[in-house]
Subunit: 92 residues, 2 copies
């Protein structure tokens, strides 16, 4: 069950936005829900990806919830830094 849930997650990083649009539409063709997770600068890209899916490819898709949080990450030198994180849940 936990593994199935993890399958619904698309991690949005620094690749071109259309890569994530494709991953999201693929996921939504298989299930009713997908969670977009992003951190730092990629947060803007995850909003772009969600909006492109909704406006251009799957007009019925809705934003179920958006949550923001702060995560602690280790830098290469071992010190900690705070990074903003966002989760956008889309449903059919």
């Amino acid at each position: 069950m936990a593994e199935n849930k993890e399958d619904n997650v698309v991690y949005v990083g620094s690749k071109p936005v259309m890569n994530y649009v494709l991953a999201i539409t693929t996921q939504l063709s298989r299930s009713n829900e997908v969670v977009l997770k992003s951190r730092g600068q990629a947060i803007s890209r995850s909003v772009d990806a969600a909006e492109i899916v909704r406006n251009r490819f799957m007009p019925g898709v809705k934003v179920k919830s958006i949550n923001i949080s702060t995560e602690e990450l280790a830098r290469e030198d071992g010190t900690m830094m705070n990074v903003s994180a966002m989760e956008i849940t889309l449903t059919k």
Copy 2:
């Protein structure tokens, strides 16, 4: 009334994030609610600003709602482009 409502808005752009943190905390010292509006790359910064206010300066502040949308903007040459937009509403 409409003017009062507009006073509750902080537009997050390309300045250093602490500028917006200061604007948000000032606004929340005067009223119970503030709306952070951002577009494009500044969306990530608006999440940073909201998280810094909540975690470092005003621990009682909550995220009331987050909405995303797409806005049509004119480029310098007059053609139109789509830009993602986000509104984060914070309350005391």
